[in-house]
Symmetry: C2
Subunit: 461 residues, 2 copies
């Protein structure tokens, strides 16, 4: 009992390297009904593995549709994970004290990876499986640069070449993220680029195009589809990407046990859904098994881009241009262009199909929060816990603080766990705008969303 | 034996929170002869505690001259240390493999602190003792911003106001470091500023002055000397600062024991000397006690600013203007202005007196390395271990790699330990210059140093 009391008093709950999970958790095994199939964009019939083979290695295609509960993590991947995993679980004692809440607040900190976010958890796995299947080069897109830097690092560690199409406006505004990718050996070009037909076409129409994630995806996919040595890599949304991220939640569960505690509320920000799923799916497993029924799992999205809370649960394209297969998800319409939020990683019109399915079934809930409120929360966090959160992660901080204040009002000693998915070292321009009173909120663009939803393709289920 | 074998195979050697040192190590207790006294700049007689009282709280003045071997770390300071300490010790397995060396390379990683370097180890202690003695505001100077951000964080955590005089050229070129300080609540001004007499005077002569560390020190000292609520805080050089940093080496010794290993070579970069001393003094203690006589301890400085390897061991001013007390140290002359190296933290004309004393007695050695070679080493490190080193820390990486390659040539299985004192997230501009082939080396400016050394005040010992 004495040792337990000591444990509870800690600030950090660390695990040993041997506690790095040896298996990823695949939530598809525990769904009551399978996730809706992915459809071919022209035939609107379910697609097969061969349709995806030009873009992804076979092992990842298998993982995408697997219904095995546990997928073994190869030792070569765990060896790279050791560079930063297990990541720490923190008890936010200073934040609790400042809020005067009886709640216990924990955060899992994924910013300890060399790239500064959770993204390398899947980048490393994807690079490994491609390498194993003799792929020598990966292409991808990146917006603000979190994903591009994670994949650059992973490719460097496995000796793969990496080509990153970086949205031109970010390429110009965030040179440090680009340099980080180049330091890890990647080739980075501003998108639209003259390197692809898609890029050339857009540049002909508009030489000054600022680019978009949709355009960059088109370029990266074309690059992979037209070169034998190259496959494509995606940083969120897909089932296998979410599964690779479950190391976060699997570790967090063990760490909460060390703290002799259990989560009442699990919180993650959600753009494509991967960091949210990574933390929460191992907890959702308990709910799906009929345990911990009262536990709440909350996805937090921007009020200006609220796919779960305001979108429609229909088949839609994953990209803006409309080249990808159709997936059933909560969507604001694939032609919807979100406001220029600083949380670039949350500016996505859709949401991972597996997250949508759990939301549809009531296993998880969702909240939307405005930008200013997220920075206000991030400042409170930085000034008590020290770490400066990424603008995306600040969405989770906001709801964690709100729930802690609710506990204070209601006199409840609940346990709140959230994912601090990354640090804000490359986002300090956003903090400057906040401190200068220049940061703005964006209204929910109801008319634009309604218009975009009319563009969603008709699919008879 | 089995568990030992497992330990040796790890990548990270972590300690528990209860292993955060409870005492700092004060090397003054173990010197055969005391360090030369600090002298009053006009009388050239040893100064007493009252001379320093306007600038520092009494507890820090006591620590500065203490000959007690161990100074207890107050629980309030250890509580803040828990936010990132104990810091990890890494075995650089991927770097070793890439080099093909039989040497074992370990690095202590101090970049895990919220400010990204070792600097908060003393910032937190200094903020605490000032708070305890009812000081409500601290002033300091910062060049590139590592120290300023560490003190801003520490002041925020203890509820002190913080005013940072940031060298104007850095203020303009490194806005992210400034925003980081402001996020933690500090007031940051470009130096020279109109806020002090020293600043005004310089601005009158040259309204476009780019500033210098010397000018910023003058402003910060004047600020503290002219306000009752304010004291001054320094991030390196002084005995108490070096002592606060010994938590690094004390932890590293325990971690090497966990690895069932012992250091043959201990390496740190040295500007003012605090991260080098922090890692190495607990190891130097063994040598001073007649143990581990063959162990080498190496301070690494820039070839363009080589105070230990090329400077004179004489009394000199700590600042450029010549306002501070006189300390006996290896110096290039207080009027020497180093080349604009990217390793801004190593651009100092002198060296911590305690480091100089150990160098003079042959307990430690020193090496000087050129800028390009340090970035070449940093690239090799980033591409194997993932972490992108600060340009200062890259000096230690360079010598660690050189020693590992020597071991390879000689077929020796030595154990190399170095301090990775910080990450390079705010220094990627330097990496960009390196990648673009635009980074240059600077010759050792022998004539300028000879000239500056003529300005050193005459003191008859």
């Amino acid at each position: 009992m004495a040792s337990r009391a000591t444990d509870r008093n800690r600030t950090k709950f660390l695990l040993d390297e041997k506690d790095i999970p040896s298996k990823w958790y695949n939530i598809q095994a525990d769904l009551k009904t399978p996730a809706p199939p992915v459809l071919h964009p022209s035939t609107k019939q379910p697609i097969g593995p061969q349709d995806l083979a030009p873009l992804f290695p076979m092992e990842l295609i298998k993982q995408e549709v697997s219904r095995e509960r546990w997928i073994a993590i190869p030792e070569e991947i765990r060896e790279v994970y050791r560079l930063w995993r297990p990541s720490p679980l923190y008890r936010a004692r200073r934040l609790e004290k400042m809020l005067g809440t009886p709640a216990r607040i924990y955060y899992k900190y994924e910013g300890v990876s060399p790239a500064g976010s959770h993204k390398p958890n899947t980048a490393v796995a994807q690079a490994y499986y491609n390498k194993k299947e003799k792929v020598s080069r990966l292409s991808t897109e990146t917006g603000a640069g979190q994903w591009g830097s994670a994949l650059s690092l992973a490719c460097q560690l496995f000796g793969l070449q990496c080509k990153v199409y970086m949205v031109k406006v970010s390429y110009q505004q965030k040179p440090y993220r680009r340099i980080m990718m180049e330091t890890w050996g990647a080739q980075v070009v501003a998108s639209p680029s003259p390197d692809t037909q898609s890029g050339k076409k857009i540049l002909e129409q508009d030489p000054n195009s600022p680019g978009s994630l949709g355009i960059a995806i088109s370029e990266a996919v074309e690059d992979a589809a037209t070169r034998d040595d190259t496959k494509y890599s995606l940083g969120s949304v897909l089932n296998h990407v979410l599964m690779h991220q479950t190391v976060i939640g699997l570790e967090a569960k063990k760490q909460l046990e060390k703290a002799d505690d259990a989560a009442d509320i699990v919180i993650g920000c959600a753009g494509g859904g991967s960091n949210f799923a990574g933390l929460s799916f191992p907890f959702a497993a308990d709910k799906l098994a009929g345990k911990n029924k009262k536990m709440r799992i909350v996805a937090v999205e921007p009020a200006a881009c609220p796919s779960l809370t305001k979108g429609k649960y229909v088949y839609d394209f994953g990209d803006t241009v409309g080249l990808t297969p159709l997936v059933k998800m909560h969507t604001l319409g694939h032609t919807f262009i979100p406001a220029p939020l600083h949380a670039g990683g949350l500016r996505y019109h859709g949401m991972a199909p597996l997250v949508c399915k759990l939301y549809d079934e009531g296993v998880i809930e969702a909240m939307a929060v405005p930008q200013l409120a997220t920075f206000q929360a991030a400042m409170q966090f930085a000034r008590t816990e020290g770490i400066i959160p990424a603008p995306e992660s600040a969405h989770a901080v906001r709801v964690a603080i709100d729930e802690a204040l609710r506990c204070k009002r209601d006199g409840k000693r609940q346990t709140i766990l959230f994912n601090l998915s990354g640090h804000g070292h490359f986002d300090l321009g956003a903090y400057e705008a906040y401190l200068a009173g220049k940061l703005q909120d964006y209204e929910y663009p109801a008319a634009k969303v309604a218009e975009a939803l009319t563009q969603v393709p008709k699919v008879t289920a």
